[in-house]
Symmetry: C2
Subunit: 113 residues, 2 copies
Amino acid sequence: MIELNGKEYECPSKIPMDLVDDKWKFLILWNLATKPLRVSELTQKMPDISQRTLSRKLKALEEVSLVHRVVFPEVPPKVEYSLTIHGERLLEVFEIMSKWGEKYAKEMGAKIY
Amino acid sequence: MIELNGKEYECPSKIPMDLVDDKWKFLILWNLATKPLRVSELTQKMPDISQRTLSRKLKALEEVSLVHRVVFPEVPPKVEYSLTIHGERLLEVFEIMSKWGEKYAKEMGAKIY
């Protein structure tokens, strides 16, 4: 049993999908994969997300140390988000899950479009 | 978009956890990792599961081609379950997810017991 962030997990394999439990969090991590981004840049890359939801998701990802928030001492202050080492490694895990899913779907004759 | 088994997936990385969406399915796959087992052997390894639930979970895993059901022409008939190639590869993916979760939990100072 693992007690983490106030939750209990029977198996550590459950942790990745529990931390990234919706498509927005996944897309945020994905968009931060290549370089740190400001909120305005994230909004450009994810035009369908509301400002409120984006802030909430970023905060949740920051709280579980998948994302860093860096404030640059400028006027007006510049705030940038980037992946932590945990976030980087987690994206690699998602890549492996994704590859399995793709291969499986193809071999099962799924419709992919 | 992927259309598979009557469901739609936005991203193939969602497929693994959707196919194995509870601890019983996970434990069944895990127990079949080393060798094919009969229902009675699975029951011995998972004493907490009811016969009804075990049958349902095995059927669900069989339907998505993660598990094979082989009936041997004997009297009384012998029925054995084993992992398909998809099931084998999926367990490897879970192993990777599990390792990430364990490492993350340790580095985040989780209580592990």
